[in-house]
């Protein structure tokens, strides 16, 4: 892995960490198997209230676990799609690294191990999620 700058944060023995690339590649393969060999023909389960709210933003397709009407290659080049796909992804990566862990590292493993910093991080994850989902996302979806 070549990173384009000599930054201390990236100076680690990447060969020792290569297992996690195998792991995430496995997750990708698992996704393929689940969607083909183990596919669920039923529409995605959604609470009726949520479906009603999403319909007001034109989200009516429940064939996929992600809302393909707002997350697709065509939408990528609109402001809405850019915020959902690119800015959202950036916040996930940046925030996870800044917080020193994600839902697995902090919420599940950290709390399992009774780590107070992990509980604080998890509360912040949830807080950010509630703010986005209830107040900011409706604005983005209205764009």
């Amino acid at each position: 892995m070549c990173v384009p700058a000599n930054i201390p944060f990236f100076n680690y023995n990447w060969k020792k960490e290569v297992w996690n690339l195998f792991f995430v590649f496995g997750i990708f393969l698992g996704g393929i198997i689940a969607a083909t060999l183990l596919a669920n023909p039923e529409p995605v389960a959604v609470h009726p209230e949520l479906a009603k709210e999403l319909a007001t933003y034109g989200i009516t397709n429940y064939d996929s676990l992600i809302p393909t009407q707002i997350m697709n290659w065509g939408q990528l080049f609109t402001l809405k799609g850019f915020l959902l796909i690119v800015v959202g992804g950036f916040m996930v990566g940046f925030g996870t690294r800044y917080a020193g862990g994600c839902t697995s590292g902090h919420a599940i493993m950290g709390i399992s191990n009774l780590q107070l910093p992990s509980l604080i991080a998890t509360i912040c994850f949830m807080l950010g999620g509630f703010v986005m989902s209830n107040w900011l996302l409706p604005i983005i979806l209205s764009l």
Binding site: I111, L116, L127
Partner: protein, 166 residues
Amino acid sequence: MNTNFTTTPEQDVRAMDAICVNQSEKTHPLYYNLKYMAVGLIFGIIFVKSEVISWFRIQEMFHLQSFHMYGIIGSAIAVGMISIFLIKKLNIKTIYGEKISIADKKFNKGQIYGGLIFGLGWGVTGACPGPLFAQIGIGATVIGVTLLSAIAGTWVYGRFRDRLPH
């Protein structure tokens, strides 16, 4: 390449980010990593079948409309607690016979600022880092852009971490 540990000792940086400070001391051929791929594969299938990677389930969670995600995260924490208890109690070793030690996490403000930023991203993409790979696997190829953007986010953090409050 990248052997300049003089400015920031590797261990300190890693401890702060809780990344593999207690990794295996042994060196193995590359194909030994295939077992992690097998675990990832099972994990990926469960991600999809349990609908953890569903954008709609994440929105339900933040709208308090469904117990689904709370049940999954809650039971994962319960399993984690039991596992850690048994590992410590029975002094269970890794498959290579090494002692399992789990480093304590140190508080820093990053857990608040970073946590809030991650939460905002979670609420909009409907995915945390792991599920992104499964979402691509189920055929949502545009999520590959989300993944690249997330990787860019980790790079930007690494680039500017000295200037961020911790």
